[in-house]
Symmetry: D5
Subunit: 161 residues, 10 copies
């Protein structure tokens, strides 16, 4: 095993090998998701999602990724181009890892109250998880820096028929 | 059954009756969570959480809630005061309701990539779900208004020992 | 137990009592969902969904339902009006009942191929289950009449961000 | 790994290798399921089902598929001919992928109401998932194109004995 | 509790009360399923299924059952007549009770081999569980009497479309 | 992969390789279970069970099987002889494949009523799944041929101690 | 609640009320299972099983139990007589209670080795759980008394057919 | 695959390869667990447990086993010596195999009554599954030989603190 | 509902009513577990366990508890005396409540490494959960007070037999 | 397989191969966790956690580990350095192994009472599993040595927002 294979995050090991290859290239490049995201003109979180097999890139994303990570375009396009169909949902579930679990717990505790507020603010409908974008920021705070995560989805009202 | 009992949201039916009583009073008052939150000087989402049994109020919260919803202070303090221990986690899980499911799905798809970004931005640690605050906003958008949800938790680095 | 209570379908017994009351009234009226749907100007399947707690009516739906089933408007509006928040998802799951199981089995067998076709025809995205309408028809056939069920949802392309 | 192996959809990776080979050939040919379906004189959805191991072809289907995808008839007949027994049910279940989940959710929400309508329209019985055909169409719509899926199964009345 | 309520079999306690009432009447009458089946002109197993809420009777079945068990026709027809929709599937599952478990075990062990034989004898298709009849016999045997259970279902070939 | 390996039924792939080898030999021989069963003087269903690892043959069964399928006796005896301990229970469970599911569904629906009949006909006890034999027949019927499956097990009364 | 109701063991609370009544009577009588077993001429463990709804008594058992626990014969016979059908399997499962868990753990650890020994000592077959008797003894030991539990079941060889 | 590999029992296939090697050696030697147990001066059941990875041998056990099965001591000690940590719990669970299931069923039915008897005979505590020994005997019986299994564990009273 | 009933912690609501009564009395007395523990001469954690139905008191514990909480001795002895059999294991599991979940997570993460250390320090065996005592302390710390929980159980070596 | 590979503990086999390599090196060195912990200046339990992939070392930990276990620094840093993201949660869950199960059982029994005590001693909040340290000691005791495990986590009060 090449040394850099150690860096494949656990959930990536359940995906096709292209994604481990992307992580190897990323590690070799020393680039963060933030840098790669800038290189390809997308957001940081979506870019991470892409490298976990959870998003489908456009041709221009593939080209930019090819440059950013120094992977042959032909190979990358073969793997992530037209014929690539993301199979969404990745990692063990419910999550045992504490980082993901805390987000899950926030839903366990605050999910149903949130539904009630959405109903009050918007009426009967949902926040789309498709027409969706997210953001993660580090916000400095003297009492300890904070993780600020934003879910931003279009409201879709239930249709009556 | 009194008519207003129809308004008890499904997850509240699994909690002690005080919470159904809170929802009845809220419905009778015609107030939204936003208004009640202003009345008690807390945020909207936390206030909804409180009314789903997911938070513990201070004495001043109970006093303000008593006024806001016109419930006898004595009764409310008996129920939600010193001896009240929130048992957190509410509603069926994994969620079948589509509103809560969409949030759950966002974690299924984007949760593990998010963990990776947190690692890059902060190092080895988690976002606290305890020293945590959240926010829900309706953001107007000509292409359809958007639900914007913010999770804001303190970063807690893993200690080595 | 009043005799008509026998007619409450099994999944309705897990809902708030208003829905059993609707089914009692329907049975007393002798009307089918098709007739009630015409009375309220909605489709047959949505109307059935409404009576299983899976949809939220507008005021005019409540008025029409009140007339169609001869239930006091005041009572119905109290139960299904502004403050009513549908908690969607009803009945045991995975289904043991053979009627629902056959639909479930069709997804077990043909669901993933269907995803592939949707990808080919539309690109990366989903069929909305919110901006959705459905239809059920009996189609006569000399070899045995056929159940024809239509799912009709807006295609929602995944956004890149 | 040959580059085209990247295109094997996730659920196909749990099937015997013949099905990955079919998908490789399909990708190399550049043909859609719609085209292959025309080539073999079957419907699009059934053809996709066949390529996910969910259907059993006749000899003439195998011959046509051999031509359409340019796979040696001998090999294909060996794999999908007389001795081939489809083991139906494919992919993780309950589905985490959002495309399949939306169909699943439609059953969670509308499945039991649908059973009630079938009972009203046909009496006590089921829609066959065996004497069954399905169809998927893209219907243009200025408000966004729509996915229209049809389930068409023979009604089978419960026998009394 | 009336003494005869002791005789309600465990799975019946999860059904609407009409079925407990049927079992009470059966116990009071002292009739076996075999006798009741003869009274109503149906088979023994189907009759037992009916009394566990797993079948839908015709009007003439209800009339005959009313006579056989001396239950008022009006009441019985109200409960099991036109508006009654069987919700099939009864009892804890997987079964803990050893009698039902042995049948379940026979499928665990011999179910997949049986599928293979059905495929050889009939081709690609299933045995219907709808156009189905069953039979249970006690067959005397000097080495110990035997339970002989017959499943008899129409073969339904998979349609190609 | 040799072409005939395609014919290994899905549940056999979870067993030790000897069983795949048996199925390969069977496919090469072109013999049905019915023929092999005659060759070895056993019933068809038991013979299929044997080839799914669910039964233990006697020496004479191994000899006959060796002849019937043209497999070297030494090899077969090594694999299925004295030291072979069947590990019973094969295939995914609960079954997703529709053929096996229909049998499972018949138990879901009719299993508990069956227990009641066995109690009436025999008293407190079970049908043995060990001193058990089964049979599958194709019965011609102008309305569609029928699958007739017989479970035949010794009645074992519960002992009091 | 009568005070003696406190003594109903947790698993008994899921059974029909007759079994709680038996435990109340037992507590009032101050008799142990050992004494009751002697009174009715059965073993201690079977007698405990009877009082947890896991066995079916003969008429003479009911008569003796009626005397032993001073319960009216008529009532007891109504409840446990001819029409009583034990629904076997009692208590939460897998067990959380440590006493039952230790037995369960012994099977987790030693169950499969035990199967191997049974195969060596008896050939292909099972130990009956029907023609079965058990025993529990306290064996004095200076290093701490020991619980000695015996399972004694008839060996049933698999039949070949 | 060497022929003797066929004899690896199913649960052993989930353990590290040393255990399959032990079973191969056992099969080659033709020795039963009873004989091996005598060779090493341990009980039969514990010896079987050892060969399923469920026990940790002392040095003298390893030496004796090395002789008994003619396996090189050095190799055996490397595998089962000081550094070997048994990971207890082996085989699918809940068990599908009928031999193990019958033991499991005996607990389902008689486990909670047994707890009650232990409480009566010993007070509040458990039977140890650690300071535990077991025994399996074949007891001849004209009505059919019997499997007699003994669980013998030290009683451990709950400490109050 | 009496006001003090609001104070029954969620897991207690699944226990027999005596335990809710104990919590009511505790709330009325205003005593903490620490105080009650001192009153009865036991540790704080065990005393809390007792009031959650997880321990069995001696007569002197009942007498002291009766005084401490001002509950009639006769009543308390009836409920928790000789005939009381604790059914251990309380609350939803796996835990959704964050307080209990953190302990659970500590095992998810550190449980298997802990097993390895126990093996190194003690050899092959377990820490008893029966001959066990625990302790909870608040330890002041300028960086935030700490919860210090101690598990103290006797080491039990596996016996060889 | 190299002989030392036998020593890989079962849960480590599910981790990337670096962790098996660490255990091999540890076995070859003959060092205990206690010794390695001293070598690297960390606690014993954390060090074990590190070698089960549950902690992230600092550079100085890697350097010390490299010396302690005589593993090339370059290799170790590649594997456990900057890019290594621990995926926490290891081993089957719920645990079947008795050592880990006893800890789990202690939570089943005493977890919810513990939550109540934490609430009394600290108010509404949790014990952190992140700002956490643990300890395991062998405490000599004439009645049998004891395992003493300490969980020490910072108290985190729930924030109101």
């Amino acid at each position: 095993m090449s040394a850099s294979a150690f860096h494949t995050p656990a959930p990536v090991r359940e995906l096709p090998p292209i994604f481990a290859a992307l992580h190897e290239a990323k590690n070799k490049s020393g680039k963060s998701f933030e840098t790669i995201a800038k290189d390809i003109g997308r957001s940081e979180w979506w870019t991470a999602g892409l490298m976990y097999g959870q998003a489908k890139p456009e041709l221009r994303d593939i080209e930019a990724l090819s440059k950013s990570l120094n992977i042959r375009m032909e190979y990358l396009n073969e793997a992530l181009g037209e014929s690539f169909i993301p199979h969404r949902g990745v990692g063990e579930w419910p999550p045992k890892d504490p980082v993901v679990y805390r987000l899950y717990e926030a839903l366990l505790v605050y999910g149903h109250p949130l539904k009630h507020i959405i109903h009050e603010k918007f009426g009967d409908g949902i926040m789309s998880a498709i027409d969706f974008k997210g953001d993660v920021q580090r916000v400095e705070d003297p009492a300890g820096d904070r993780v600020v995560i934003t879910f931003n989805g279009k409201f879709l009202p239930y249709k009556r028929w």
